[in-house]
Amino acid sequence: MLWIAFAGLFLFSGATYLFARRGAHAAAVGASRRPHSLPGQQAAYVTIWALIPAFLLLFALLSFGGRIETALLSAELPAAVQALQPDRQELFIQDAHAVAEGRGTSAATYDGPLKAALDAKVAQARVYDALILWGGIALAAVIALAGSLLAWRRLGPDFRARNRAEGWVNVLLILCSAVAVLTTVGLIASLLFESLRFFQIIAPVDFLTGLHWSPQTALREDQAGSAGAFGAVPLFVGTLLIMTIAMVVAAPIGLYSAIYLSEYAGPGMRAWAKPLLEILAGVPTVVFGVFAALTVGPAFAWFFNMIGGMLVGGPLDGIGQYLSQVQSNMALAAGVVMGIMLIPFISSLSDDILNAVPQALRDGSYAMGATKSETVRKVVLPAALPGVAGAFILAISRAIGETMIVLLALGSGGGTNLTFNPLDAVSTVTVQIVSLLTGDLEFDRPTTMAAFGLGLTLFVVTLALNIVALRIVKAYREQYD
């Protein structure tokens, strides 16, 4: 229903614009002198007053209507309901709301006095529902009509409609820019709020230096040692391990492709190699994840099992036994596939950076008799080093925050042991966030709050890496400008 109200409001505003423009035009044609503003600008002014206040009201209704109704419904609860636990009371209100909207299937679970109370609440909810909805829509209609009429009455040859309308456009532009800032505020606030509650239960030092991570065992709060289960070091090690493998794969391949593309390749080769790398960069990470889980992981496991099978019984029996037990959800597979994902990222960033090295440096080197590769290694790369380092740091930051590849390759379940072995299953910060926050969740449990603690850590680390990288790249660009 609200959507129809929105659509109606937009239709009304459009009609207002057309009508006001015609009116302003007619007034201008008959007038003895030119009005200050064009008819379109006068109409825009009227439209702003027709649209914006009513739109804000409807939007508020959309965002907070449900909460107002819940608050009203919770105001006076029957005794039978008040006897319930607080969370059951909430559920009761929700159910009443659902039944009132005609989608209640859970109503059957109530009987006796609760059933009677529910029926009463449902009737009440229907009334409030209608009141809030129709009251809000009627109010919005009045506001839209009054706004447009009042604005229309102010129009005249001397009225500076253009400046007013442009002033409002400017406000709109500033608001749009503010969304970016608000997003940051929202990110930090949402992470910080839950994290602070988490850190009241678990000391930050224990979280950052603890060597044991098993959040599921802490479900029962009376359990011994439940606080010790939130040591995030195994996750940090797992993240670093996978990031290192990824960079070992991506850094040389990405850098060498960038060098070849910027220093050696002719325009023909660039014309087809660069789009192909762009396609690789555009492949969604979930696809890489499936690739790791269905193809790379099993292939690696088969390979290591085969080697292990050959070693078993020989002088290296211990290693053989271990290798033949290797599972496909190993850190190595996730790292290698993540490395493949990072290749185009590193390559395109490094390509830009190498191209920014002035040609004069290369020419000077050639004039001294250096070969192309010597020029690249001894002149271009050292000159581009800060930029390349910045590109690598950005890639590292991406590897740390990457979720889907690791989630699919490693699985969300096991492997939270502290290990540096790339053939073992590990877990990362992102994987733990997903497994803690998906499924049925109550917000007050330490497990969900722990996810926000991990999220905050992730945010801070990637933000720091980014700021450093952007500084380096910027300083480097200015050096040659």
Binding site: S177, G186, S190, F193, G282, V287, T371, F452
Partner: protein, 434 residues
């Protein structure tokens, strides 16, 4: 004269120097060739990975685009179905028993054989019989023809996977069931064809019944929300920052802020969505509107950065020309600069939306990972999207879902390639050098 006498003396030294120099040169040229080869190898590897990825996924997924359909007349036995209680009858067993009869196999005392026959066919056969009876109860006692896909494992067998080369105890279907499947195929009851169901149905717990339509519609709805929120906001924010904003500390901070937002891990946006939109603003869980808004915030920095660079590429003379003939700054921007930079903006917007289409992690946070067996009806109904559908199917245990995972990836990649191609065409076609 003296020259002739002198030349022989330093000759050996010179040749030694030359030999050494040539040796060194050879080494340097070899190093050069090696370096070049490294570069070529790196590019070949990168493109080889891409080719391998695509070929591998195509090989895995291509099978899911065909399916084997089973068609058989079913006698609606009045002895087994009570017209007053249609729901109460067991239609799966009705179909299975008639299948056994058709195969000429006697059912044993425990009914094991009919259970085995039931495993070969999709439960949709039973639902279809029930639906037909609900529509027309007079069909009881008559024979109706129903048609549905064979079960996932049987389908894989027909496609040459999970065949007899695998030891019987490692298979879901035993030798007897495979014999039956061969008989059915030979009798012409099973036909192979294009899997239209993949594009006309939503998700299901049965691999043979699962389709992508729900996910495709969900993705479309979500992208619609993302575009409606992110494109106007991003473009207008970029216009402000590039054209109107005074150069002071605040705008400098906003700029740094946007650059940093572009590199925040996507999963953190999911946590923002969970904490702010779902918990605080009470948006519906797993709905396209919630996912769309979260992804809009995710791609907003990308759109702002792309729009700014498009605006920057419009030469100042356009702006100044408009101002010179009396346009206000707002008119100069909205009537002249913005239209001129539209192709660049559209390219950036399409690439950003393509990114949003492939994004998965933040959507897991806001509950889009739940099982949704119906096509979403609106922006607030529970839905899933293509990348999340891929994730869900990959996590399913049945082999037949793996084939569909790869097929879903191919569908997703086709959409991404279409979007990217549009962006490239726009860039090529409307790119203007000033």
């Amino acid at each position: 004269m003296t020259d002739a006498a002198l030349t022989p003396a330093p000759a050996p030294a010179l040749s030694a120097v030359r030999a050494a120099a040539e040796k060194r040169l050879k080494k340097r040229h070899a190093a050069e060739a090696r370096f070049r080869a490294y570069g070529l190898t790196a590019i070949a590897l990168a493109i080889g990975f891409l080719a391998f990825l695509l070929v591998n996924l195509t090989m895995q997924g291509i099978g899911a685009f065909t399916t084997n359909t089973f068609t058989m007349p079913i006698f609606v036995d009045p002895a087994r179905i009570d017209a007053r209680d249609l729901q109460g009858a067991n239609y799966d067993m009705l179909v299975a028993d008639q299948l056994l009869a058709r195969l000429g196999v006697e059912n044993d005392e425990l009914g094991e054989n009919s259970l085995k026959a039931k495993d070969l066919m999709s439960p949709d056969l039973g639902y279809q019989v029930l639906d037909r009876l609900k529509a027309d109860p007079s069909l009881i006692g008559r024979t109706i023809t129903v048609s549905a896909p064979v079960a996932g494992n049987a389908d894989l067998y027909y496609k040459g996977e999970l065949g007899r080369e695998i030891a019987e105890e490692n298979r879901k279907l035993d030798n007897q069931q495979l014999d039956w499947l061969d008989t059915l195929k030979a009798a012409g009851l099973v036909t192979s064809g294009f899997n239209t169901r993949l594009f006309t149905h939503a998700d299901s717990t049965q691999p043979e019944l699962a389709g992508l339509l729900g996910a495709i519609v969900g993705s479309a709805l979500m992208l619609l929300v993302t575009a409606l929120v992110a494109v106007p906001t991003g473009v207008l924010a970029a216009v402000y920052l590039e054209e109107f904003a005074p150069k002071n500390r605040l705008t400098g901070f906003i700029e740094v802020n946007i650059n940093n937002l572009a590199a925040v891990p996507s999963i953190v946006y999911g946590m923002l969505g969970l904490a702010v939109f779902i918990n605080w603003l009470q948006f519906p869980r797993s709905a396209p509107i919630t996912g769309g808004v979260v992804l809009a915030l995710l791609v907003l920095p990308t759109i702002i950065i792309a729009t700014r660079s498009a605006l920057k590429s419009v030469p100042p003379s356009i702006r100044e020309g408009a101002l010179a003939v009396g346009a206000s700054p707002t008119q100069a921007v909205f009537h002249h600069v913005l239209p001129q930079s539209m192709p660049g903006i559209m390219t950036g917007v399409i690439l950003a939306l393509a990114h949003a289409l492939g994004e998965t992690a933040p959507l897991l946070m806001i509950g889009m990972v739940s099982f949704v067996p119906s096509v979403p009806e609106g922006l607030t109904s529970a839905a899933t999207v293509l990348p999340v559908q891929i994730f869900i199917w990959e996590n399913a245990s049945e082999r037949a879902f793996h084939e569909r995972t790869a097929a879903a990836i191919l569908v997703l990649l086709v959409f991404m390639i279409i979007m990217n191609a549009i962006a490239i065409v726009l860039r090529r076609r409307f790119e203007r050098r000033w």
